[in-house]
């Protein structure tokens, strides 16, 4: 898997390169500012990108804007966005930039190497990975139709789906069998009236419905 990496702090950039290369990724371009990132994302060899939100020159949300721009130019291009803080506003903008293949995590989640690498792989495979902090704020919100019809357990499962967990991981977390998880998920799909589709896409659509994007 060939990646574009954008991170302006030299130490973090070196760390991420080491971490990703150690886990079978190839870093095609590692850049530290927005103009260089735009250039790097034009490379047809690139298969996915891992981006920091805040980049020079203005140190605001260049990374996010670049992510949205590249997904407009190359629909479905997988992007994992990292940030020192997460905002639901940004999560929504990312999710609205195309169906799936998008991730949004706090930078410190990188310290759980296995889960982070798994997240990047899921995004590259078309999945959606949202930071638990984003998921938690959405969880705290009053539900509306049709999400109100979901049982508390189903809502919990949907929250974990938004975090990019596989059925097996959800089963492990909730201490139930994978079969039970699959049953919950099917029930969620039915209650949200999601059309029969490829399983991954239905998962993403369920998450989008849940975030009311």
């Amino acid at each position: 898997m060939r990646l574009v990496l954008a991170e302006d702090h030299a130490l973090l950039r070196a760390g991420l390169i080491q971490l990703l290369e150690g886990n079978g990724f190839t870093i095609l371009h590692a850049v530290d500012n927005a103009p260089a990132l735009e250039q790097a994302l034009l490379d047809p060899e690139a298969e996915a990108a891992v981006l920091d939100v805040r980049l020079p020159p203005t140190q605001t949300d260049e990374g996010l804007r670049a992510a949205i721009a590249v997904r407009a130019a190359r629909p479905g291009f997988p992007v994992m966005v990292l940030s020192q803080y997460v905002e639901q506003l940004y999560a929504r903008e990312l999710l609205a930039s195309g169906v799936g293949a998008v991730g949004y995590l706090l930078k410190d989640r990188v310290s759980d190497v296995a889960e982070f690498v798994d997240g990047v792989r899921r995004v590259a495979a078309g999945g959606t990975v949202l930071d638990p902090e984003v998921v938690a704020t959405v969880m705290a919100r009053q539900r509306e139709e049709p999400l109100e019809r979901l049982t508390p357990r189903e809502q919990e499962v949907l929250g974990l789906m938004a975090g990019g967990r596989s059925n097996a991981a959800i089963a492990a977390q909730l201490h139930v069998t994978e079969k039970a998880v699959a049953k919950h998920i099917n029930s969620i799909f039915t209650k949200l009236d999601l059309p029969i589709d490829e399983d991954d896409h239905r998962r993403v659509r369920a998450v989008l419905a849940w975030l009311r994007v």
Partner: protein
């Protein structure tokens, strides 16, 4: 035409002078009877009438002198009889009105009669022609002297205001710094100490060749690091939220609305960005309103509008909750008021029992870079 208009004013002032004498008597009677409550009722009627008549004279004086004379009264609180009464009593202009009520009728009757008789006297018409403008202007200057603050008085008031808001602001900043120091001391700093201890113990565990214990200690260290980063993140948000730097006031307020547990719609129409300190003050003001809305209002829906026109930035936070919000009850709202006051901004709360609650934050300011930042939609 000018002279006829001025003569019209003279006639009006002649009759108003009689009303003013009656009003003054009512003031005295009302004031004397305050002890037996009837006086309060009389004064409650006399005060607005006095202000109305004084404003009429201000308008006539402004027209005669061809200047603008703004109403000099302190703004009244929107509700509460006693709160309003306090403001009226504390307003120096109330007492100047009273003095004017006593003196103006004599001046008014004299000047008005001279002007009217000169005109009615027909043969004295040419005197009327020459005398009316200076006489009426003198009358207008007399009214302006008593009914409006002079330049010096205005400056004195301004200095007083600035001294107060500056003192508040210094207190506020000092309190903020203390809070930051405490947050860092109890949070990130303490966790970093724990982190270095875990790592030190892990180092020792490697020496004693106990890899399982070393692994556990490193795992603890990682968890402590995450917690320290989380602490720092919340401290940073409290100083200057990153989303405010990224997206400006409209975007940051939209982000706040998204974090609410109930749907809050944001309608922001700002043709540019306010200065950074104003942005920050208004952002924290709106954040405080939303926090109270979430905690106390019991609302099912909320809404925020951001507008700027004629040099005034206005943020309105409303909800359909149970109302009865008291801005003086918590320290949060007072802090917001102090912070806004530093920019001559104000905060007003309308929250009748049963709702709705509407909080309005207003700050006079200019906007930079004429670019639109639309950000609206359901949250």
């Amino acid at each position: 035409m000018l002279r006829l208009r001025l003569t019209g004013y003279a006639v009006a002032q002649l009759f108003l002078s009689i009303v003013m004498i009656v009003l003054f008597v009512l003031w005295v009677v009302g004031g004397a009877l305050v002890v037996v409550w009837v006086g309060l009722v009389i004064l409650a009627g006399v005060v607005p009438t006095t202000r109305w008549i004084a404003n009429l004279h201000r308008t006539m004086a402004a027209d005669t002198l061809e200047v603008t004379l703004p109403s000099p009264y302190r703004p009244l609180p929107p509700e509460g009889f006693f709160a309003q009464a306090r403001t009226v009593l504390a307003d120096p202009m109330t007492w100047r009105d009273l003095l004017w009520l006593l003196v103006a009728p004599f001046v008014g009757i004299t000047v008005s009669l001279v002007v009217i008789i000169l005109l009615l006297g027909v043969v004295t018409g040419f005197i009327w022609w020459f005398v009316t403008p200076p006489l009426m202007q003198a009358r207008a200057r007399f009214d302006r002297m008593l009914l409006c603050y002079s330049r010096t008085e205005k400056l004195e008031q301004r200095v007083q205001e600035l001294t107060e808001t500056r003192a508040d602001l210094v207190d506020h900043s000092a309190a903020e710094l203390r809070r930051l120091e405490r947050d860092l001391h109890d949070g990130a700093q303490a966790r970093l100490v724990a982190l270095s201890m875990s790592l030190g113990m892990a180092e020792a565990a490697f020496d004693t060749e106990d890899p399982e214990q070393a692994r556990q200690l490193v795992r603890d260290a990682r968890a402590t690091t995450s917690a320290a980063i989380g602490d720092l993140r919340s401290v940073v948000r409290g100083i200057h939220p990153p989303v405010l730097a990224d997206r400006g006031l409209a975007g940051a307020v939209a982000a706040l609305a998204l974090d609410m547990a109930i749907p809050v719609t944001v309608d922001a129409r700002l043709p540019g960005r306010p200065p950074a300190p104003v942005e920050s003050a208004v952002y924290f003001g709106v954040a405080e309103c939303l926090a109270n809305l979430g905690k106390h209002s019991g609302a099912r829906n909320g809404w925020i509008t951001l507008r700027w026109h004629d040099g005034l930035l206005q943020a309105v936070v409303g909800d359909d909750g149970r109302g009865g919000a008291d801005p003086g009850a918590g320290t949060g709202m007072l802090g917001v008021m102090r912070r806004l006051a530093a920019f001559d901004g104000t905060l007003s709360v309308s929250s009748p029992a049963g709702g709705p609650t509407i909080i309005t934050l207003e700050v006079p300011c200019d906007l930079s870079s004429p670019k639109t930042t639309p950000s609206s939609g359901p949250a």
